[in-house]
């Protein structure tokens, strides 16, 4: 039961119920769709980049609590940050949800998703928005799938 509590922390349930930055950015400098064929989760990430900085970051779509909360927390973590920070932060986040051991430093609120590591089938949910974000920054137009 403690594993489940760890997974569905209050912060996650809250971001699922009231996702932050849940909207369309129009015009956006970048956008991409993420799709998890296993569970049907589908979301679009919108980014507005200027001078190498993420001025605005938002998402829309439907998914489970883990993918929705993860997308919501991601937008909060990266809004206003340099684009160059995306890759290293994603790498740390990926470690957080896939490997045992202490939470890597510098993840802030994203650390609440550490519980995902006990549920390997849910890693794809937690990383869906991140994959879409990367695809958007790479200007890949085809939906990115986690399968």
């Amino acid at each position: 039961m403690s594993d489940l509590r760890e997974l569905y922390q209050e912060v996650i349930l809250d971001h699922n119920k009231r996702p932050r930055n849940f909207r369309v950015i129009d015009p956006a400098s970048h956008h991409a769709e993420g799709f998890n064929p296993l569970c049907g989760d589908r979301l679009t990430v919108f980014i507005d980049v200027a001078d190498g900085v993420i001025r605005d970051l938002a998402f829309q779509g439907q998914g489970c609590a883990i993918s929705t909360a993860s997308a919501s927390l991601m937008t909060e973590a990266l809004k206003g940050r340099p684009v160059a920070e995306v890759e290293p932060l994603f790498a740390k986040f990926h470690d957080l949800v896939t490997t045992d051991g202490p939470t890597p430093p510098g993840l802030g609120k994203l650390g609440v998703l550490a519980g995902v590591r006990e549920f390997p089938s849910r890693v794809k949910c937690a990383t869906l928005a991140w994959h879409a974000l990367k695809a958007a920054l790479d200007h890949r137009s085809a939906p990115v799938a986690t399968e």
Partner: protein, 417 residues
Amino acid sequence: MSAPIVTPVPAAAFDVEAVRAQFPVLAQQIRGKHLVYLDSGASAQKPEVVVQAVADCYRGYYSNIHRGVHALSERSTTAFERAREQVARFVNAPSPREIVFLRSTTEAINLVANSFLEPQLGPDDEILVTEMEHHSNIVPWQLVADRYGAKVVAAPVTDRGELDLDGLTRLISGRTKLVAVTHVSNVLGTINPIADIVRLAHAQGVPVLVDGAQGVPHLAVDVQALGCDFYAFSAHKVYGPSGVGALWARAELLAAMPPYQGGGGMIRRVSFSGTTFADPPERFEAGTPDVAGVIGFGAAVEWTRALGLDAIAAHEHELTQYAMARLADIPGLRLIGTAADKAGVVSFVMDGVHPHDIGTILDGEGVAVRVGHHCAQPLMERFAVPATARASFGVYNTSADVDALAAALDKVRHWFG
């Protein structure tokens, strides 16, 4: 040795605890809770007698079949061919020579698509399926249709999840080359009126394939009474090993069909100037089959038959009715699939909770269900849901399992409420 006499067991005499005792896997705990296995629709657990039949083969007499003159090969061949008789009897096929052993229902459908349908397919021809089909009864038809400019069309499903027979009738035309329909929907549990569909199709000279993957575990299947032309099914959903399935087809249809895959075991004579092929069913059984798996398949259908399909159907019907009543009481829960005639499958969605989260929380309570699109994305679209949660029943399930499901769903409600 004479065949055992099998008498049907009346529903009242169905001893579910005695049945459960034959499934070693059920006696375990998951995350500290008793396992409640409600995912037999994805794959059923195996009774000891099936595990034993497979182990006996490997321990006692395993060898390749139809190949050797030595004792083990003869014994394996005899056991393999006995399984063909057992499987034929299970679906009341007129002859065991009408049973082709394959890997799965999926492979059986691909075989029919390539060997039966493809040689007669032309531009604008149609394969008529339904909105409630599993991807395995859609995609094989699309693959061959795309090669010939033909298309796959789908008969509509009503809001209750029943097949719209008038809609289906309207879609049968001179262009229809085959009707392919599931016996029991893996998502809705709907039992389709196969005999009626066959009459409608045959009246226009159109043959019918039935996807029986979900039919065989829940219903007494009699291919002669159904009147269909092809019946495809898998061992693993009817308490047999995974990786083994069968196609039943009328002898005259099989006789006219060219091979699907080439290889060993399916030839009469091979030379570089040309090759002649074996008669059915061997013509369609290229390569060394899953010998022990097929023998386990035979054991599984014998075990199921001895338990009595009518008794199983009655037991599962009772569970399904009970589950639908219990679940309907949960606030915010909506059942997907409320057909009048329904086998042991209950799909549902809950307001404000994604099915994936339902599945994870239920697993925390030891309750195993399937969540997702169930390989039926067109049906998800039909009901405008991205996914559902699905509880599916087998012979070993009890009303206590349904109570555990309902209690776990209360917990979901509490967390996400």
